[in-house]
């Protein structure tokens, strides 16, 4: 395949990380919770997945099962982090931003501790390659770049579409949106606000956790991958504003973000740009600068139907007027 083809497939594959992260964050935000802990959740999801994979490989279970257990591990670890966040932000009514930032500090650091401990997560070199191979279904064995699109990529697309359907076409979705817009009204209508907030955050965090696993094992397939998840987590949070709280839009927009993110890796192989080492740093700025432009443009346009959930960032206490 040509350079351009490689570049595009590479970006397409990366976009799944953004799709998972942003879809998870959208579910949480629809319940009125700005979860700034998403980077930490993604990291811990990645760690949980890798932990499960390394346990499964020690047991010697068949390949497809290893991948599934990995997904399960990431899902559970992400959900646990979501439960932790909900406990503080929903039950204890702590400040959401502070709780989220603490989650990020804690999650990122704990993952870094876990990932370098050989006795806990053992995925070094050949074992890692073996783990990556488990995720290559359905294009396994193809010689070209297309094989990097594993089943988790397609799962991401399905999750995003499914989330859109649930949010817009089901009663549960309607109730969830009501909780995010005005919890007092939702409460009066007989919706269990606390339960919705908890479930949305836990499921959302589980999905975001998959993003971490996908990035470490599937996209990067490297021992060093865990160091760079945090930035992707923040980009996922920012992407939510770009897609106007619509999960299906994360698929094309995630691709745009991925193109900007991966171009720094590919730019050195394009002869006419003649980039030097330090220029790649400037290219690495691109997704962040692009996000800033998006934030500004969306705030300047400021359309009525493109607003965040009305009670985003506020704790709900029934006895407040």
């Amino acid at each position: 395949m040509s350079h351009l083809g490689n570049f595009l497939v590479d970006s397409l594959a990366l976009s799944a990380t953004f799709i998972y992260g942003s879809t998870g964050e959208i579910l949480t935000e629809k319940a009125g919770h700005l979860n700034l802990g998403i980077p930490g959740v993604m990291c811990m999801g990645g760690a949980g997945g890798c932990l499960m994979i390394s346990i499964a490989m020690n047991w010697g279970v068949p390949q497809p099962l290893i991948a599934l257990l990995g997904v399960l591990g990431a899902l559970i670890m992400g959900a646990l982090m979501g439960a932790l966040y909900s406990f503080f932000a929903v039950t204890l009514r702590a400040n959401q931003n502070v709780t989220g930032l603490t989650m990020t500090t804690f999650g990122v650091a704990l993952m870094k501790v876990l990932m370098v401990k050989d006795d806990i997560i053992y995925l070094k070199n050949d074992r890692l390659a073996e783990a990556v191979a488990c995720f290559r279904f359905p294009f396994a064995g193809r010689g070209d770049k297309l094989q990097t699109l594993g089943f988790m990529f397609f799962l991401a697309v399905i999750v995003a579409v499914l989330a859109t359907y649930v949010l817009n076409r089901t009663r549960t979705g309607l109730s969830l949106r009501a909780v995010g817009e005005n919890p007092a009204t939702a409460d009066a209508a007989g919706i269990n606000v606390t339960r919705y907030k908890y479930l949305a955050t836990i499921i959302g965090s589980g999905i975001a956790g998959l993003g971490g696993l996908y990035y470490i094992v599937d996209w990067m397939g490297s021992n060093e991958a865990y160091k760079t998840i945090e930035g992707l987590g923040w980009l996922s949070v920012a992407l939510v504003i770009f897609v106007l709280w619509k999960p299906w839009l994360t698929i094309p927009s995630g691709f745009i973000f991925s193109v900007l993110y991966t171009c720094a890796n590919h730019v050195s192989s394009i002869s006419w740009i003649n980039g030097t080492m330090e220029d790649t740093y400037l290219f690495q700025m691109l997704p962040y600068v692009f996000t800033i432009i998006i934030l500004i443009v969306s705030s300047v346009r400021n359309k009525r139907e493109n607003q965040p959930p009305a009670s985003l960032g506020l704790s709900y206490f029934r006895e407040d007027r």
Partner: protein, 398 residues
Amino acid sequence: MDASKRSFLPIPHLAKREKMNIFAAMGIRVLAFVLGMLVCGIVASLLVKDISFNWKSMKSFYYCFYEGSFTTNRKLLAYIKDLAVLLCIGLALAPAFKMRFWNTGAEGQTLVGVLAAILVNFYLGGSGNPDIALGDLPLSLIMLVAAVLAGCIWAALPALFKARFNTNETLFTLMMNYVAKYLVSFSIVRFLTNANSSGSMKSLSSGRLPVLFTQMPSIDKPGTTFKIPQSLNDYLIVGCIVLIVTVFMFVYLKYTKHGYEISVVGESTRTAKYVGISVKKVIIRTMLVSGALCGLAGWLIAQVDKSVSTESSVHGQGFTAILVAWLARFNPIFMVATAGIVVFLNKGASRIATDYSISPSLPDVFIGIVLFFIIGSEFFVNYKLKFSFAGKAEEVSK
């Protein structure tokens, strides 16, 4: 009250507290801190092979925390320096957060401060251009001005857009962190590295701070005096500068018109508008103060370790400082204590990480755990948990 009507299961019920006795509130927080530290011990015994959950092992584990900061003069001075830098960033954030402007970009604002300072040092201090070599003090001052300006610019951008278009400042400032990070990586390679050597930075030796402190009483050998070397003298100067900033910020927030306007805008922008405060002006002005102090922190960092500056020179302190400021309720005097606790945890856990050879990220795990407990404890300060019994509730309804 008729006891026989009571159900055995109490029904929990929340109520907001009016105002808690300050000592009781402090007691709850201290309890939360102690519980957090206990959980740190348990987590450590799970993560680290050489630490097990028994008396002896735990004792040496907790002793490491003390050992990390307070056993020698050198450690104490390093503790003061770290505390001062973190506190300075926290002080920068306090006015912004009091105004409900979620400045998550302190990391970037500090980092551009570092960058501006080392660039000035490089080009005016004789390393980049041998023709210009300013003396130590003027060079230091120009570095300070450059760092403060850079911090201001980095903070003013999101503030302008927030004031004009109500752009989401949380994410804007967050993204500016990464722009700053890559800008620093780029600038160090492009401008500050020896082109022909292995990419190491040129040493920046000029622009030293004046020597003010030469000796202090020794801690580990009582009765003797400890001679303060040049580098540790810088640490103490950093501490003094931040002490002045702390007092300034306390007065600024509490006793000036600006401080009053900040708290009004923070409580309600509508009220501010009705009493004739220009919200836009307050937002931009406050963020300029915030950015300037971050720049100052950047200068302090650049002063103490110029030649080893990298894109991670700020070590995530921009984020930790948010928690420091918030935990102290944006009160500069309390922030000395919260920053002190965070640095204490950080130093202690770093010591444990090296002693037991685990990842250097361990401190952040402990900081996260303890912060979770303190955040959780705020609930008990703000709310009352009442348990009503079925019988009692009926009685009320009668």
